[in-house]
Symmetry: C2
Subunit: 564 residues, 2 copies
């Protein structure tokens, strides 16, 4: 491409954020500007919106992605702009980019091409400081644990059973496993520890699930940070940590308002991992947007088996959010990848491989429509090298199960390139609105009162196509203990590879009959879900041989360069 | 006291920050608001001020403090407000509070009583995110070091000789000494490491010395982070880290504008340690303030032997800043403390002890006036329990060397309580302005071209009253090597206890004939000074038995409570 993302973004003419806010009916005094093009909307204002009805919610999800990603964020921006173009009052909600990946391999995470949120450099680089506040809250809690042990350990914390980890917003493999507290008595008790990236912190998950400041503080207090020798849980509340943590997070909890290149209002707020957490932007952003706009597009992490499943079974279950329509982003490249073609090298037309790979798409469509009951459209996120025959074959596969697939060219054309997609979204919403209420009800993968084991089993068999789930005796005992201790009512949050329905990243397409082994179980008592880890999950990434940081720079006039 | 700091602050009627900015002639488009009461002033605007003459600079310093502190920040605020009240165009410049101490022992650091900068909760809690940006830049550089070693170590970094430490803005003793890189080959090479508090990062010192973005980046590139087996330095530039670090810091580098309770404009920006760094707010804040106001009050850390010495010998030497007058904050309590009275328990009148303790004050006055040539006034920061006899004795001691001492009651009365102090400051400035130029020239403690050893010796003998300096053979060799490697032209930055002129915190008053032993030397190549560590210096504090975090909280309406 001739023009890079950052060049397009820097050439854009932004509207003052006050103008964007006025369009949403946000009074000046409820807007907390951060510079001229970013602002937080006060929590006080969000409370006043609670009487207003929610608009229509569009869930952006995807097929099982290739390592390059299929463009959910870009399509979210493009669809938002297209909805605006065809005359709808639309907003979008996105996750905040983590700095670690920005300086590692990934580059920016604010869309791409002519479908971006701006100012993209700010959004990618420290933004309004939310992630730093989350990191400080997380690390303060960690310091309070070790400090408590140091000063006599009245609570009887077993330093071998501290589960709370510190975090940084930097990809730093050297911090994955460490021994801390060395250097003698004045430095506390030595123990094994490690750091995660900030998006993996339970505080991030809590931040994105909280319905208000009081709920945030309550959940922070419930976090289980360690156990005694008798395996009694120690909570953040026992350390009197939750009040100070909530105080640090107070300002961050207000959603960040920015705009797309075409001035569609966008909330960019929160960003939990989609494996060990639920992977969606903050509830407060999505709920508030729904009360200010008629259409709100929000994205869930990874493919529909991970992000959309958690959106439905964790977020919707606990908050009452209901998607009116789902958009599944599919690319010709990903379909060929699932049909056995590698992504390296020059792309060649390969309709046969693509047709084989659409099995992956069809499995996701079945889940969305039949399991959960969500009307669905496929967005073919167009790339220049796609041939007409490939695009047609992809569309035909969707059509074979009664789903419309629309080619979307927002990356190169902006919102104008996604108008067909926007019209199909509106049509599906209208169609659904005409249905009797109970036909449009969202169905969950499992009922609240199923046991944790049955919940996991339901996800594995119904969503992943697995034949069964397994676990070691130790893990089974752990699950049983959580069930006995009263956490059986929590939803399950599965951490597994995003590249396959199975736990083997190499098993492409739509595998069946595979076995899902639960390797580890973690309680997220404040987020109120139980994490089941199935496969290798990295909670602290490393930097590559040539990190993106090497080419990111700022010139003497303050212009950021080298950010993609 | 009946009303706490936070209660006074929360009852204050703040002006919109745009109004404060208008009063300073800052155009709307050059103001980057952070909410309604905080803003950053664009670097672009600061450049336009360079043609304007600097106003008068007032350096706020203090006697050797008691552990409770003598109120430099409070007196800076009070004097700023008093100058405004008597009709001068005044601004103040302060350091940003570090979060670690706020949650530890110290509570807030935004002044106190009726002499505060506001919004005090915001200033104390995460503010505009500057410290987080500095932490991320510091930690990114650390990750790039270990990543380079992991991916083949082309530069030949000796992992035993990595000098760059990670930082957090949390008091966390367990991180002082750690072993990282454990867990096998995919996590890098194990090595000893440790974390400092963010204010101890060399990035913080650089941030506060930088004259613009280009200078910041240049200095970041010069940081020496490690050595090879042959002791060749590895710089941040060798790791291509400085561009990305500068990009992270771009927004942070613009000074933060807030106001006092009485609406005097205040820059609160940067905050390096006053032991291993120079301990003054950012140069950019002070210089810009001087070009917008006729009087600018800025504070230096700890007592005049540490903070003011570095202000003169590091900051003024390298930037051309020149204090027109110095204010030495002294309290009856501190003078009695230096006279042998303990600060615990109920205070009793003790004029004899106080008179003995004034030796400490007189030593500082001598340094300021005779060594450096700065006109000086003493501010007696009044406390309710001070008796008239004590105050009079303190004033008489100052008067005995020809210095006026003024009782200042800004803590309880706001700016009105410091008008006498303001008038004396103006009088001294007028007196100085009437002198021929060369009589008003600032003198340094040592010339640029003295050796590092002689510089340290000059500080110890001329400022601390020591008889000599000593060092182990290893430290002497290290100093010689730095001298030979071309760092001899850098100023020396002494890290020692703030409680005594000597290196023994228990040696009160004005000791002479003591020996200053240099225990360790560190090169701060990007900050361009050589740190000489004389005594136990803690670069990562711990939390106390009952941390302040335990009582800090936020109510459901977002009001912060329990912050002092």
């Amino acid at each position: 491409m001739a023009t890079s993302n950052i060049e397009i973004a820097q050439q854009a003419e932004l509207w003052p954020i006050t103008r964007i806010a006025q369009g949403l009916g946000i009074p000046d005094e409820e807007l907390e500007p951060y510079g001229r093009f970013k602002a937080k909307v006060s929590l006080r204002h969000l409370r006043t919106l609670q009487d207003k009805p929610r608009g229509r919610l569009v869930l952006m999800t995807a097929v099982s992605p290739t390592p390059a990603g299929e463009g959910k964020t870009t399509t979210t921006v493009g669809l938002g702009d297209a909805l605006t173009r065809i005359g709808e009052r639309a907003m979008i909600c996105l996750r905040e980019p983590a700095l670690g990946p920005v300086f590692g391999m990934k580059g920016g995470a604010a869309g791409g091409g002519y479908a971006q949120v701006v100012p993209m450099e700010d959004i990618n680089l420290h933004f309004t400081g939310d992630f730093s506040a989350i990191a400080i809250a997380t690390n303060l809690l960690a310091a309070l644990i070790d400090n408590h042990v140091h000063h006599g350990n009245a609570l009887g914390i077993d330093v071998r059973r501290v589960t709370w980890r510190r975090v940084l917003d930097v990809n730093d493999r050297a911090l994955r496993d460490a021994v801390i507290g060395l250097g003698g008595p004045s430095n506390g008790y030595p123990r094994e520890d490690g750091f995660d990236i900030v998006v993996a912190s339970e505080v991030m998950a809590i931040f994105c699930l909280a319905t208000d400041l009081a709920d945030l503080k309550e959940r922070l207090g419930e976090i289980v940070v360690a156990y005694t020798r008798d395996r009694a849980p120690i909570r953040a509340r026992d350390l009197h940590a939750h009040g100070a943590m909530a105080a640090i997070l107070r300002d961050a909890l207000a959603p960040n308002l920015v705009q797309t290149l075409e001035h569609t209002p966008a909330f960019v707020h929160g960003g939990p991992f989609a494996n060990i957490a639920h992977g969606c932007n903050s509830y407060l952003a999505t709920d508030s947007a729904l009360r200010m706009a008629d259409y709100v597009v929000t994205e869930a992490g990874f493919g529909a088996d991970l992000g959309a499943e958690k959106f439905v079974d964790i977020l919707c279950r606990t908050t009452g959010l209901r998607p009116d329509v789902a958009v599944v982003v599919a690319t010709v490249r990903a379909m060929k990848f699932h049909g056995g073609v590698e992504v390296q090298g020059l792309p060649h037309e390969n309709v046969a491989a693509l047709e084989q790979g659409t099995a992956n798409l069809l499995r996701h469509l079945k889940t969305l429509r039949e399991t959960w009951g969500i009307p669905t459209v496929v967005a073919i996120n167009h790339r220049a090298e796609d041939t007409d025959a490939e695009t047609a074959a992809l569309a035909a596969a969707a059509q074979s199960v009664g789903v419309t697939a629309v080619v979307a060219k927002h990356f190169s054309e902006g919102g104008a390139g996604a108008e067909d997609l926007a019209r199909e979204v509106v049509r599906l919403c209208e169609e659904r609105a005409a249905q009797p209420d109970d036909e449009g009800a969202l169905r969950f993968t499992y009922p609240d009162d199923a046991t944790l084991w049955r919940k996991m089993s339901a996800i594995a068999t119904r969503i992943y196509g697995a034949s069964e789930i397994t676990a070691s005796t130790a893990v089974r005992a752990q699950i049983k203990r959580l069930q006995d201790e009263g956490y059986g009512g929590y939803p399950v949050c599965v951490a597994k590879t995003q590249y396959s329905f199975s736990t083997d990243p190499k098993l492409r397409g739509a595998p069946t009959g595979h076995v899902v082994d639960i390797r580890e179980v973690r309680l997220a008592a404040g987020a109120r879900f139980v994490v089941m880890i199935c496969g290798d999950i990295m909670t602290m990434p490393g930097l590559p041989v040539t990190p993106a940081a090497n080419s990111i720079d700022v010139d003497d006039d303050g212009r950021i360069v080298g950010l993609f």
